[in-house]
Symmetry: C2
Subunit: 399 residues, 2 copies
Amino acid sequence: MSPGEITTDSWMTGHPPAPDKVIRFGDGSFYQWPQLRWSFNHMEQLVPTKAAWRGPGASRPLERDGARLVESDITLADGTRLSWEEMLSTSHTDALAILHHGKLVYEKYRGEAGPHTPHTLMSCNKSLVGTIAELLIEQEVLDANALVTSVLGELQGSAWADATIRQVMDMVVGMSLDENYLDPTSDVWTFIRSTGMIPADQDNLITLADFLPTIAKEGQHGQVFAYREPNIFVLGWILRRVTGRGLNDLASDLIWQHIGAEHDYLFMVDSVGGETTASATLRDFLRFGLLFTNQGRVGTKQVLPTRVVESILAGGDQEVFAQGDYGNLHDWSYRSQWWYRHVAGRCCPVARGAHGQTLYIDPERDLVIARFGSSPEAPSSLLDPIIWPLVDTITEQLA
Amino acid sequence: MSPGEITTDSWMTGHPPAPDKVIRFGDGSFYQWPQLRWSFNHMEQLVPTKAAWRGPGASRPLERDGARLVESDITLADGTRLSWEEMLSTSHTDALAILHHGKLVYEKYRGEAGPHTPHTLMSCNKSLVGTIAELLIEQEVLDANALVTSVLGELQGSAWADATIRQVMDMVVGMSLDENYLDPTSDVWTFIRSTGMIPADQDNLITLADFLPTIAKEGQHGQVFAYREPNIFVLGWILRRVTGRGLNDLASDLIWQHIGAEHDYLFMVDSVGGETTASATLRDFLRFGLLFTNQGRVGTKQVLPTRVVESILAGGDQEVFAQGDYGNLHDWSYRSQWWYRHVAGRCCPVARGAHGQTLYIDPERDLVIARFGSSPEAPSSLLDPIIWPLVDTITEQLA
């Protein structure tokens, strides 16, 4: 155990748990550290959820390969050398698994995590929602080039008034949002409370439908990559409006019933039942990633149409990405709620979520890496110095 | 649609739902009528849950019989004749299904209910917990004749101080509990708030571990059937303490993974993560019932040991039951958190839950009837005048 890493074994254990070992959503303790290590592995025990059903069939086993990955040292950009165990603990890893040529070459769970324990995906959920959007475009239910307001009249007069659905999907909408996290009265806190992802004033609930229309335009659309949270809620709202269905039902019908999932995909909900982020098990997260190394197929069944897979694997505009404020990510792009790491001529989709949630797909190398974490700090940028050397080490070893 | 029946189609639909169509747990609207019809079919979207996993396998199909039940009239004890449709609507039926010789001869969903929609079981969950207790007795993990306090030292000095675990299971513990539902300061409301099943004062949370030890003894144990809610929470506490596991994990490992369930069994939780009641789909509820017409087997696999099935099918003491205050139930008994209807020499286990939840098992006739409801009033006694003539009509027709 590395310095600063605290065992969470005693949180919420025994019945009743010791009073100082109780974790609740309403009092905010779920998001304190180290409590969040327990919380991230048990979100459905803290907040309401809407399930994307896994379907009636048997789950699709993930076969193990005889040749397991060697737990080698990782060398960081600054020359620091970490043993595998140090890498796991320093980066507050909850779970890590690797599929190579569709077979499990590594699988590890730590602390509260386990193969049957759904873990929060945080913003990795965006990439599933983006995939649903691509599916609905392919089905001609959604027109990516249409204005947002052709679907959501509520957003007339807002930042999205003259934005297209594609611009929302690609996070190139210019908007004004006071993101001063140090000021509890700033827009961003009102926004986060309206998502239901932190406790809200129950007597003065502000919903996303109240808040999103108040966000004003700033700058131009389509020119600069700007990873702004409200876009995913606008996209979710669009998908619900055009289909008349919940994201959970869409996710189940279009994806989760077809990948051989072992567990349901569990959306958190806001105060009016709108799906926000979600939890899933690591193996199911891998199964989702496997769609993109397998041309959208599960076995012989085409689950994602080829054009959807091609659209997502194409990656985004690196020029537009470089205009954004993500200096630590060189040669990256963003499209359809997926990040892309362009490395040695390959374009690798990445789902990224706060506190260390990662799904990395390298179609050319036929490699899928899924990782759950519970870092004390939210920003993914703080983990990038470990994650990418780790990914490169794994990739090289499996080459 | 019968008088007084209100369609719930517009609750929580669209995004966002109309403000007067929003249902929430925290403001108590979930339990107003008709809102509770939506709530009972979507509890997991209103409150946190702990899943008993259905396992990785394929669900076990419920085959349909060619010979479907005829929707005949039902004649009540007072001579009133109801058409089948009147029976369904007057009793606020959400779902009704019938297995005869293991095959579906009837299946109906109304309003918010559907084959893949988990519905609250209310106190029918007790019978699943009682079945787990019987399994743990068979495994010699639990000693039914031991004192409660041999497991739970916390209950020294309470009503359970000199009660046995068997007496808790059979609801024959003499206790003092002010059940004046009209007085919001009465014991019973403190108790219900401590279960987390209604909104509690978040700044002054009282847990079951705080409250149960304050309940005093009144009268003698073992002599009078007294269906008192606190017993099930004591039993759940005992099961957690002797196994060191949650009821969800016990339910999954011992039962839910083995019946071919399509969906997880979803426990609600109290403020410290203790499982309370649960939701399940109607078909899975039937699959649970089927264990008892099939000698504990699913296919050729013995899921419940024969002695567990025999213990539950034996029924309870009708003399002790008759001493209780259940005048409308003639020739009934109670044992191991199951009710029994003794009819024409047959002893039929019944799981009963408030607002119309029912699982009726007639092993001799190889008949399982599952019913979900959302009556405006909680007491099962108000539905008995329709439920039992209905059951008799079904039984006669299938004879």
